[in-house]
């Protein structure tokens, strides 16, 4: 069912990145490594975006997630360093494993399987980033969420600074 072409190979590689990186994140003892694995996973996801004709999102993914969030996490790791190396990685291992496994199965059963066997092809027409940009400022479009999002970011930024500031002075 799957023909071997560039897209398939790309998919396969990106899958490796994504899932491998994810597993790495949750299993690493060293949080710096964990950060790196996170970056790998995020990179894989960016690849998916590309495959799914969302290049802008892929770029944003890399820029924002990897470039900002992952770095941020690294800083946080460094700031809370005294406990970076933990002896105990996990708590409640078995319940969590079972829970996540069950969840996975349910998701497969509920989400994946219903769409099984269809949607082999995707429509050809795609939108461009230009359209996206236009939609964001279009009065009939997404200008309100866009504004709100900016507000949100501002608030988050201020809040984060406020929460994390030094109390010494």
């Amino acid at each position: 069912m799957l023909e071997l072409n560039a897209i398939s190979i790309g998919f396969f590689i990106f899958t490796i990145f994504t899932l491998g990186g994810a597993i790495g994140v949750v299993t690493t003892r060293n949080l710096f490594q964990g950060t790196v694995w996170l970056m790998v996973s995020l990179f894989g996801i960016a690849g998916y975006m590309l495959l799914l004709s969302a290049p802008f999102l892929a770029a944003v993914q890399i820029l924002v997630y990897i470039g900002a969030i992952a770095i941020l996490i690294t800083f946080a790791v460094m700031l809370t360093r005294s406990v970076t190396r933990v002896d105990e990685r996990y708590i409640r291992t078995i319940p969590s494993l079972i829970g996540s496994l069950v969840l996975f199965l349910i998701l497969i059963a509920g989400v994946t399987i219903p769409v099984f066997g269809g949607h082999e092809g995707a429509p050809v027409v795609v939108k461009t980033t230009h359209d996206f940009g236009l939609a964001l400022v279009d009065g009939n479009g997404y200008v309100v969420p866009f504004m709100l999002a900016s507000l949100l970011l501002t608030a988050a930024m201020i809040g984060a600074i406020f929460i994390a500031r030094d109390e010494e002075t």
Binding site: R92, S100, L103, I106, L107, G110, I113, P114
Partner: protein, 776 residues
């Protein structure tokens, strides 16, 4: 107005006194409280009450109760006279009678009736009873004038009179018995009228108990009579030859060949009732003690009413006793023999005791017993009419004697009071200067009272002579003579041993009667006063003395003249004056017995109508001799040389060792106490100890303990269950909450795990319900 028909009028006779009783009891018995030491108001001194306040009847109540009581008796008197008038108008009275009855109670096939009957026997009673009772009532006005409970007294004697009249007019044995019993209760209440005195209430109990024993036997007789004949009405039994024959021929008991007929059994049982009521041996013991009651009570009980009721019942039932025999021809039946023996024995027995008594009322008490013995013996001999005659005359003179004795006592107390200005004013023991109890009833304290109490003396003398049977001019002579004549007649003509026994014993008793009567009169009225009190004894002036002497005079009149209605026809001289054709009384009374024609056909029944005994010199001479002889002996021993103070009774010397025995009543009281009273008390005590305390108390204690145990059990259950549950629920909830609280760890990841679990479940539900899995 219906009631004024001759047949129904007798119903009204007892109504007067009975209604008087009710009114006095309910309305006119008000009391006020006075200090017990107030002698003027509280006439009876009782040392236990000193310093207290005691209730005394108000003057207004006194007046009302006296008035109502007297009105009640007057009512009875007037209606009785009307009835007597009606009776005389009845043609062939005796065969024809005035009667009315109604069915009272159904007892299966037969019915008990209540009714009234006026026949000759009733008539003569109706002549005597209301007059005697009225005299007694009048006397009581004065005698009880200072008693704190006078209203109650009048109420009780009204009830007594009402009961007696009920008994007299009754037409059946049951109603007679009702009146009988009510009189028994009244006697109890009246003898024990001064109930603070121990001797008084004990005497009351003694009277009631003794007569009650007899009454039980009598009741058995009545029941048996009813069983055999199906009726209790006199006319149906006594005047009905058929029933009489039936009673004689029914033989319930056979002692080895010796058959006892129903008539005998019933007769003897009913006679036993009279033995109790009329104080015959051996149930005579209550009568002397009954002197504890006020004197009018003694007069009433022992003369006019109660004991007369006993004799009257025998008179009524006479045809039953005589059935199966023929007393006038010397053939006796068992009841008749019983009566004759008991009666004559009692007569002599009591007379012997009377000669040794020192209490003026005691002598009269024994005299009563003795005279009743005369009457019972007379009936036993078949001298039916003589017995009835003697009953009437005796009632008059004995009532007179008792009331006169009461006056004497009253006078003695006045004298005592006079002597001690601060003395007691009451009816119990007094103290003289020397601190000894002064007994105003002791004849040896009296003497010379004829000077200070002349009316009382003369009336007492008349009564006493009548009692002794003083020839010719006293009523007692005629009635006693007739009894002796009857006895002699049968003795001489038929050689009957029973009659002979009766004759001799009664003659001896009559002699003794005359003797002790004269002794009594001499000691009381003769000679000089032996004590200071006797010197000053008098009744005073005013209403009290009038009401106490007037009845005496009236009764004295009867004591003399009542006898003349029964003079035998062939008595020399007097017979032709008073009874030219026939002995009036005899002729009149005889009609109450069944006619010879009626009984002729029945072999077992006698000819009830005897002829009056012809004049025979022997019984008359005997009467003369015993009466005059006894009187002379008494005069000789006591009046001629009167006793001085402190002198010993000559009888004591004469009788020697016999005297104490007589004085102590042959120790019969002590015998009875030892034989009956003490064992009963012992038994009672045993019952208390064993039954009451032992059994019943034990049961009660056990029950109490069981319930206490149950209570404790419930308490424990309460504690356990209810407390347990009540406390347990909160504790359980608390523990559950505590257990539930463990979910709140405060740990975020755990909460997220729960969220995941919830989400998984919801997801499962969605997946399954959407059929996504199966659709594939």
């Amino acid at each position: 107005m219906e009631f004024f028909k001759p047949d129904l009028l007798p119903w009204l006779i007892p109504v007067g006194p009975l209604v008087a009783f009710l009114i006095i009891t309910l309305a006119t018995n008000r009391s006020k409280m006075v200090p017990a030491t107030d002698h003027h108001e509280y006439g009876g001194h009782h040392p236990d009450y000193d310093g207290m306040e005691v209730p005394v009847v108000t003057t207004r109540s006194r007046i009302f109760s006296i008035t109502i009581g007297v009105i009640g008796v007057l009512w009875a008197l007037v209606i009785s006279w009307m009835t007597i008038g009606n009776a005389f108008n009845v043609h062939h009275f005796g065969v024809e009678v005035l009667q009315s009855n109604f069915a009272w109670m159904d007892t299966g096939e037969t019915t008990l009736n209540m009714g009234v009957l006026i026949d000759p026997a009733t008539v003569i009673m109706l002549v005597m009873v209301p007059i005697a009772v009225l005299m007694i009532f009048t006397y009581s006005i004065g005698y009880m004038a200072h008693d704190p409970r006078q209203s109650r007294f009048f109420a009780l004697i009204s009830l007594f009179a009402g009961a007696m009249l009920t008994l007299v007019v009754a037409d059946n044995v049951l109603m007679l018995f009702v009146g009988w019993e009510v009189m028994g209760v009244c006697s109890y209440m009246l003898i024990g009228f001064w109930f603070e005195k121990e001797s008084a209430y004990k005497a009351a109990i003694k009277a009631f108990t003794t007569t009650r024993i007899a009454d039980v036997v009598m009741l058995l007789g009545i029941v048996y009579l009813y069983m055999v004949t199906g009726t209790l009405s006199y006319r149906d039994i006594m005047y009905n030859p058929e029933n009489l024959e039936l009673l004689v021929t029914t033989t319930p008991i056979i002692f080895g060949g010796f058959a006892v007929s129903a008539a005998s059994v019933i007769g003897i049982f009913l006679i036993i009732g009279t033995v109790g009521k009329s104080a015959q041996f051996p149930l005579h013991v209550w009568l002397p003690d009954a002197m504890e009651g006020p004197t009018p009570v003694s007069a009433m009980i022992h003369a006019a009413a109660m004991v007369s009721a006993g004799i009257f019942s025998l008179v009524r039932l006479y045809p039953l006793f005589a059935a199966g025999g023929d007393p006038h021809h010397g053939i006796m039946t068992q009841p008749l023999v019983f009566m004759a023996v008991i009666g004559s024995f009692t007569a002599l027995f009591a007379a012997t005791m009377a000669v040794a008594q020192s209490d003026v009322k005691a002598v009269l008490a024994y005299s009563t017993i003795s005279q009743l013995g005369f009457m019972v013996a007379a009936l036993g001999m078949g001298a039916y009419i003589a017995a009835a005659f003697h009953l009437i005359t005796h009632a008059f003179f004995k009532a007179l004697l008792f009331m006169a004795a009461g006056s004497v006592i009253h006078g003695m107390e006045h004298g005592e009071h006079h002597v001690h200005e601060h003395g007691d004013h009451g009816h119990d023991d007094h103290h003289d200067d020397h601190g000894h109890h002064f007994d105003p009833q002791d004849m040896f304290n009296m003497g010379g009272l004829r000077k200070t109490m002349p009316v009382t003396f003369w009336t007492f003398l008349i009564g006493g002579l009548s009692l002794s049977g003083f020839p010719i001019i006293t009523a007692g002579f005629w009635s006693k003579d007739e009894i002796l004549a009857d006895a002699w007649l049968v003795l001489s003509e038929y050689g009957s041993g029973t009659h002979g026994l009766v004759f001799f014993m009664l003659a001896a008793a009559a002699f003794l009667t005359a003797f002790y009567t004269m002794r009594q009169i001499s000691l009381t009225f003769g000679g000089d006063a032996r004590t200071e009190a006797a010197e000053h004894a008098n009744l005073g002036k005013g209403l009290v003395s009038v009401t106490m002497t007037a009845p005496l005079i009236i009764l004295a009149f009867f004591a003399i003249f009542a006898g003349f209605i029964g003079v035998p026809t062939d008595f020399p001289i007097l017979g032709s004056i008073f009874s030219p054709e026939h002995n009036a009384f005899h002729h009149f009374m005889a009609e109450s017995l069944p006619l010879p024609e009626a009984t002729a056909g029945y072999g077992t029944l006698p000819d009830y109508h005897p002829d009056a005994p012809p004049f025979n010199i022997i019984p008359v001479a005997t009467s003369f001799i015993v009466a005059l002889g006894g009187l002379w002996l008494g005069w000789f021993m006591y009046w001629r040389k009167p006793l001085k103070a402190g002198e010993v009774d000559p009888m004591e010397k004469f009788l020697g060792p016999l005297h104490p025995i007589l004085k102590n009543r042959y120790y019969m009281d002590d015998l009875y106490i030892w034989l009956f009273v003490k064992p009963s008390q012992w038994f009672g005590k045993q019952v208390i100890v064993f039954l009451d305390k032992g059994v019943i108390d034990t049961i009660l204690h056990v029950i109490a303990r069981v319930f206490t145990w149950l209570g404790d059990l419930v308490k424990v259950l309460n504690l356990w269950l209810i407390d347990g549950v009540g406390d347990g629920i909160p504790i359980a909830i608390y523990n559950f909450g505590g257990w539930l609280r463990r979910m709140q760890t405060g740990r975020v990841q755990q909460y997220m795990l729960f969220i995941l679990a919830a989400a998984v479940i919801i997801g499962l539900v969605l997946v399954v319900s959407s059929g996504a899995v199966t659709a594939q």
